[in-house]
Amino acid sequence: MAIELRIEENHALRIVRVFGEVDLYHSHRLKETITELAAVSRSGILLDLGAVGYIDSSGVGVLIFAKALCGKKGIPLRIINAKGPVLRVLELTKLTSYLPLAESEEVALHELERGWETGGG
């Protein structure tokens, strides 16, 4: 099972919808995509993990990487739809409050928009 990434544009925001498995063999693609997006987008990145069936520590590493990279560049980042096995892994590694998880896409979009108004992330 491979990974598939679909990138959507919502105004200046980039939404990355991740499908499949974010594991040792495939997580580097997500990392590359985030790096590329972070190089061009200033307005925000939304990571949708709703269709991720499996994530391992490399995948979690990519999420941490995304947070670190976006933090460095001042790009707002939200992770949405972390559930099932994905959420369990994040809970086990105690990262649920560290990573910028949002309840839903609407909440995330709202937060990001508010972030733009106040000029922060």
């Binding site: 491979a2 598939e4 679909r6 499908f19 040792l24 063999y25 997580s27 990392k31 391992d56 520590s57 490399s58 979690v60 590493g61 990519v62 999420l63 941490i64 990487f65 995304a66 670190a68 990279l69 086990l92 590694t93 105690k94 990262l95 560290y98």
Partner: protein, 644 residues
């Protein structure tokens, strides 16, 4: 009308007939019913005129001749809609002629000249409207049209000058008409001969172009294999072979998942999609390309999606008559398409995508031969794309695996050869690496005569960065752990030292306890690893202990806390990694922490007789039995301590 005159006319007609019959006999397979019809029509006209002598028969015959000739042309050139006005027109002429016959020459002669002149002019225009490379028969048409054009033109001029019934017209002009179908028949024979020569040549060309394509694909793979290069080779080969003006390769994101859209993966030339494009996009070629690259086509939508859905090649030689190309008809527009081909890339039961080509010059079309070639070509192209994709997947795996092998070597060297023995506690540990390597690491370090530190660690990811992080953790533990620090302080320092050093996204979960034999306590701190399991013999209770904190290596500022856990003689302390609890049975069930805890409880019930090694081997064996002996997908590491 003199007898000699009639005899001369009959002789000419006979010569025409003999030529026709000879040609038919010589090349029976090339006999053309329409040409035979034309000759019979002329014969009928002339015989009727000889018999009846009514002038209107001649112009009527000419109009009929022009109509049949145009019918032949439209059939050969593939556009048949223009005939209808001429059927109506000829009916009007026939009506006028019939009236004329009945009224016996009531009209002035110029009236008869007009209809055949207009009809012939129309046919000539039609003949010259066929572009040289648009249809397969266009070469035949191009060859015969000077004869048709000049023949009809001069015949009409001569008839206008001499009149229908005059001897020059009867003896010279009218017999000229016979030459037109005969010229066309000769053209057929000529083409027939050339066709067989060309057929051989086309087969050779076909195989050469396929060979050259395969060579180009192999060459592109020999360098740095990537799908994009291969797709571009496919596209440029297909475009070269057919003279296309634009081409695209669309692939399904995930093979054969038809609910997914087709995405543009390669583009060359100008390729207008068969759909209405926003006006703003059409202003510049750059915008157009950008628009195209962002476009997704659902399977089943547009002729491109149709080809993917039905797995049938789609050929639209002339887009003018196709409603699906309603948005592509404006000649001056970037979205103009004159001819279109879409080929599904089908590999066994799977559809990989669609190869679509366009021509975008008015009147210029793909030929049947182009289409046939492309269908064969698509098979080879699919094979090439599939091979490269498989190869790339393999390569990616192999690169990862080579790195894993190196990392495995590093990891192997870090496994402690002997665990320290003390009068206060005994240790047992094992690491069963996943497919040669994982990110697990454990260590037991004696700090002084009373204090012993034990650590278990699961490094995120695998491969070299993970192995390096493992080396760093090991070094740090041995460097930082000291009798002066409790477990929380040790982790806090270790994390602070590691956090700035690691590549982004690298981290490790760490469980650390320091056993104080004199005080009879454990100082335990956890950086997001599995909680510590302690079996207290006195109460017969298996307890779980945990502390707050992120994995190490992420944030430098984290303060880890310690938890003091009293332990007594024969208590069992168990640390483990994901590989144990996430071990899968052949049915796909996880081993789970409940099963692990139950197992520890059972073994520990043995009391003082239970060694650390017995606990370790029992858990290892149970997990192995549970998985049916399958190789683990993650390291299975266990670290057991028994208090003496």
């Amino acid at each position: 009308m003199s007898a000699a005159y009639s005899a001369a006319k009959l002789a000419i007609i006979l010569v025409g007939l003999i030529i026709y019959i000879t040609l038919r006999r010589t090349f029976p397979e090339r006999s053309q019913p329409i040409m035979a019809g034309l000759l019979l029509l002329l014969l009928g006209r002339d015989l009727a005129y000889l018999a009846v002598g009514a002038y209107p028969l001649l112009p009527l015959g000419d109009v009929a001749f022009a109509i049949v000739l145009e019918r032949w042309l439209t059939r050969k050139a593939g556009h048949g809609r223009r005939l209808i006005p001429w059927v109506l027109f000829s009916l009007v002429i026939a009506g006028v002629g019939a009236a004329e016959l009945i009224l016996d020459n009531g009209l002035p002669r110029p009236v008869y000249l007009l209809p055949p002149a207009v009809a012939c002019a129309w046919v000539i225009l039609q003949f010259y409207d066929v572009t040289a490379d648009s249809v397969d028969n266009s070469r035949l048409i191009a060859e015969v049209r000077p004869a048709v054009g000049y023949g009809l033109f001069y015949a009409q001029v001569a008839l206008a000058v001499f009149g229908h019934g005059s001897p020059p017209s009867q003896l010279v002009v009218y017999p000229l008409f016979y030459l037109i179908p005969i010229r066309i028949l000769l053209g057929y024979f000529e083409r027939g001969k050339q066709d067989s020569v060309e057929y051989v040549r086309s087969i050779r060309q076909e195989s050469e172009s396929l060979f050259s394509f395969m060579r180009r694909v192999s060459a592109s793979m020999a360098g740095r294999a990537d799908l994009e290069t291969t797709l571009n080779v496919v596209l440029s080969s297909a475009m070269n072979d057919t003279g296309a003006d634009g081409g695209t390769v669309w692939l399904l994101e995930e093979e054969n998942k038809e609910e997914q859209p087709l995405k543009l993966r390669a583009l060359q030339g100008v390729f207008p999609p068969p759909l209405a494009v926003p006006a703003a996009v059409k202003r510049s070629a750059r915008n157009f390309e950008r628009y195209l690259r962002s476009l997704s086509i659902a399977v089943g939508d547009t002729p491109i999606g149709q080809a993917a859905l039905q797995r049938v090649a789609l050929f639209i030689p002339d887009t003018v008559s196709d409603s699906r190309f309603a948005a592509n008809t404006e000649r001056e527009d970037l979205s103009y398409v004159s001819s279109f081909v879409a080929l599904p890339l089908v590999h066994g039961p799977r559809v990989l995508g669609v190869l679509a080509l366009v021509k975008r010059r008015p009147g210029v079309r793909f030929s049947e031969r182009d289409f046939e070639h492309l269908q064969t070509f698509a098979d080879y192209a699919t094979l090439a794309i599939e091979t490269v994709a498989t190869y790339l997947e393999l390569l990616e795996k192999r690169e990862v695996e080579r790195e894993l092998a190196i990392a495995a070597g590093i990891q192997q060297q870090m496994v402690p050869e002997h665990l320290p023995e003390s009068g206060a506690a005994e240790f047992a540990a094992s690491a069963f690496p996943a497919r040669g390597v994982g990110g697990d690491y454990y260590d037991v370090v004696t700090l002084n005569e009373s204090l012993t530190a034990a650590i278990i660690c699961d490094v995120a990811g695998k491969g070299l960065p993970a192995a390096l992080l493992m080396v760093m953790v090991r070094t740090m533990v041995r460097f930082i752990a000291s009798p002066q620090r409790d477990s929380g302080e040790t982790l806090t320092l270790m994390n602070a030292a590691l956090a700035g050093q690691l590549a982004d996204g690298h981290y490790a979960t760490v469980g650390l306890f320091i056993h104080d034999a004199q005080a009879g306590v454990l100082s335990y701190s956890n950086a997001a690893h599995h909680p510590l399991l302690v079996y207290h013999q006195a109460s017969g209770r298996l307890a779980q202990y945990d502390t707050e904190g992120l994995p190490v290596g992420i944030e430098g500022e984290v303060q880890y806390t310690s938890r003091i856990i009293p332990v007594a003689s024969n208590d069992l302390v168990v640390m483990y990694t994901d590989g144990i609890t996430e071990a899968l049975s052949p049915e796909g069930e996880q081993f789970g922490s409940a099963r692990l805890e139950g197992l520890v409880r059972n073994v520990a019930a043995g009391g003082a007789a239970v060694t650390a090694e017995a606990v370790r081997s029992t858990i290892s064996d149970e997990v192995a039995a549970f998985t049916g002996g399958a190789r683990p997908h993650d390291d299975r590491t266990l670290l057991i301590m028994r208090v003496r």
